[in-house]
Symmetry: C2
Subunit: 440 residues, 2 copies
């Protein structure tokens, strides 16, 4: 490594971290990119892995593969558990430390259980490939068990409850009913498939709340029509291994609760001694730097960045990607002795898919799409955003296969042990037990 | 299910069990196919999953998908832990029992550690998809650790030891050096790749012992030329978490020992009270029936079937497949009141691949091939044997990708917990504690 170049340490190889490392390719810096996984995960398609439509490897890409030809980017697989502000170094879980000249925190978000009783213990998150494989395996196991012991169906074996009516919850619920209708109905001819229920539970009175009212209405109607039972305006009170209890008092017997109710900043954020907003996001100035830490930036889901009216940016990939490009420019400005500029997020639109031929899209300039056109646009957009030609080709083939054969090929049960990303390993560093809120 | 048809219960959905269930499609029987996994695994390509060349889902196929259109085949996902001979029923691990009119044992083989100290605890088997994913993840983890802590390389972090010089060991060793040379050399530019060693340990003086001497010589020379260190004629004495000790006294420091030294009958075989050969295979008559059990057949790796000279058939897929077709015919003969016929295995040849453009093939009639021709023949043969058009297409694309780009895309670390297939769950059945050797 070129020792004389200033070192930019990026924590997290998600959309933000990866974009930043790429954007710095011509900058006179040395980049160290740290992630706990050795691959980048294309999270928007995790729900398709969980519903057997895609294979896990197709939506992931080894980080080292991306930077094989960039000697200025060094990848470190490790878990960052803190920052030694005095020494300007990040601390890894095995005791290593990596010094930085610039630090960019892009560690993303984890599942937010909002302190609801039983949620963390009894529900399935969907943030990692392991989560997706574990969920896929669990759902198929319920059907296998029901096939052998139909008397247990009444215990809710075939009830899948999705908590959260945002895009993730809607996409998940839509994919589940399709999977059941197209595949399980044929796979389990002896099962009473009318007793396989997909329930979407949402605290608000609608799904896709931030979208235009007409799109919300379309989504609700499409979900219902496809067989999703909507429980709107009825928040989850608690979850047990046998059931979900709603605040209305309703009890839904189930062994499968998918938690798509929201995210919070990854637990690293709580260990840095930096001001945070609700949900743990780190407060940043307009240029995405941490106030009083002139060499520390935060991007993506972890950053409490705001628009001109002071509203927090949504926690979605485009904000992270644009933030990364912004930070790449700012680091180069700082290296040249220039002032930083404020970050301006340009919202180009949002999309959510419900199922075959059904999606909603809200584009810049008030353009709203529903139906097959929105659905094909969603497919195309996600395809081009995938990393790597091979991944694109394989996802395209799988989508075409699923589309024409009405099949879901990856319905295999793997014995996998997901590791919670909601918890950080224990800190081994004396100096972090008493983090100094030094603002020099 | 048609209750009046005699029921054929098949234990195991490997090559034998699957072929048999398909071959019985026009027979007037009800088929119950039982497997502990919900999918069929194409075991000959497991080593390519373990070396990141293929994705796990590509070499597996959901059993229910294969028989969706065959109402006469019923699949049961479960682990058979014994047979109640008096009641003519197989016993599942959860206490269920499934009655049979005909029973076909096709449960295959598991890893044979030959009682070598530390082998079962400290080595990686390669019999299931989970094994392959766990091994892939483990190997990449060693490189990641070496990249962060080069001082640990001297502890054998980058030494991979393959035990066993049969086709599996040879293919594994060849794939490993290719993976290291083509991918890791670029992924880890800071690592001294000359210290990444692949060692093949074999008790005999050669690899591919059953093959013609010229093919053995070719394989040894190709392996050496590609960088595999051959330790021939030096059996493993014991294995610890830090090293392999050979009988010569040599100590090879390593954290990765892949056990490809041999197989033994799956543990179910030991619980049936039936005569077994060395390696646990169940003794069968010439028609593949268990002597004195006129309605019980054994096929594949589990069967101690023999050729005319009394030599045991090799434990390979073609024997299982031909055995399955034979048993399908015999069951139909028995149903018609006819005598059974003896099983005659027709050996068409054997092949093993070493690496890019290098393979050996020994075909019927004394035809021997080496080099690119044998290699392409090997690829083509394995491609057509895969189950499902989609799997074939995806494997073909991945092979073409790997061939032209010199890449291995699936190099992702998953946190997976393989479940040992060498152990059966505890028996819950009183009657099995004292198995009656009733031969009525």
């Amino acid at each position: 490594m070129a020792q004389d170049r200033p070192r930019v340490v990026i924590v997290g190889a998600g959309f933000g971290g990866l974009t930043l490392a790429r954007a710095l390719r011509r900058a006179p810096v040395e980049v160290v990119l740290i992630d706990r996984q050795n691959y980048h995960t294309f999270q928007p398609l995790l729900y398709q892995v969980a519903t057997a439509g895609l294979e896990p490897e197709e939506i992931a890409h080894a980080v080292r593969g991306i930077f094989q030809k960039r000697r200025s980017v060094r990848f470190v697989m490790g878990t960052v558990v803190g920052v030694d502000w005095n020494a300007s170094a990040v601390l890894l879980d095995d005791g290593d430390r990596i010094a930085f000249d610039y630090l960019v925190l892009a560690a993303g978000a984890v599942t937010n259980y909002f302190g609801i009783e039983g949620a963390a213990e009894c529900t399935f998150p969907l943030k990692t490939l392991e989560d997706a494989i574990a969920l896929r395996s669990h759902i198929i196991r319920q059907f296998e068990e029901a096939d052998r012991h139909p008397e247990r169906i009444r215990e809710g074996l075939l009830n899948i409850v999705v908590v959260g009516g945002g895009p993730t919850g809607v996409e998940m619920a839509g994919a589940l009913v399709e999977w059941f209708e197209l595949v399980f109905r044929k796979d389990y001819p002896h099962l009473p498939m009318n007793r396989a229920r997909v329930l979407l539970v949402e605290a608000l009175d609608t799904v896709l709340a931030p979208y235009d009212e007409r799109l919300q209405q379309y989504a609700r109607q499409q979900l219902r029509q496809r067989g999703v039972e909507l429980h709107l305006g009825d928040p989850v009170a608690r979850v047990t291994p046998e059931a979900v209890y709603l605040q209305s008092g309703e009890r839904i017997p189930t062994r499968t609760v998918i938690w798509a109710a929201g995210v919070r900043a990854c637990p690293l954020a709580d260990r840095l001694g930096l001001p945070q907003t609700r949900g743990g996001r780190i407060e940043v100035a307009a240029d995405l730097r941490v106030p009083c830490r002139p060499n520390v930036f935060v991007i993506g889901d972890l950053a409490a960045s705001r628009d001109e009216t002071g509203r927090l940016h949504p926690q979605m990939a485009p904000v992270a990607i644009q933030g990364a490009r912004h930070v790449a420019r700012q680091i180069q400005r700082l290296l040249r002795g220039q002032e930083t500029e404020p970050f301006r997020y340009r919202h180009r639109g949002s999309m959510a898919t419900i199922g075959r031929h059904a999606a909603v899209a809200e584009l810049k300039g008030g353009v709203r799409l529903t139906g097959p056109l929105a659905w094909f646009a969603w497919l195309a957009l996600h395809l081009v955003q995938l990393i790597g030609f091979r991944n694109r080709l394989q996802v395209l083939i799988n989508w075409a296969w699923n589309y024409f054969t009405y099949d879901r090929s990856a319905r295999l049960i793997f014995h996998i042990q997901p590791i919670s990303v909601n918890e950080l390993p224990e800190i081994k560093y004396a100096e972090l037990e008493n983090p100094e809120h030094d603002t020099s």
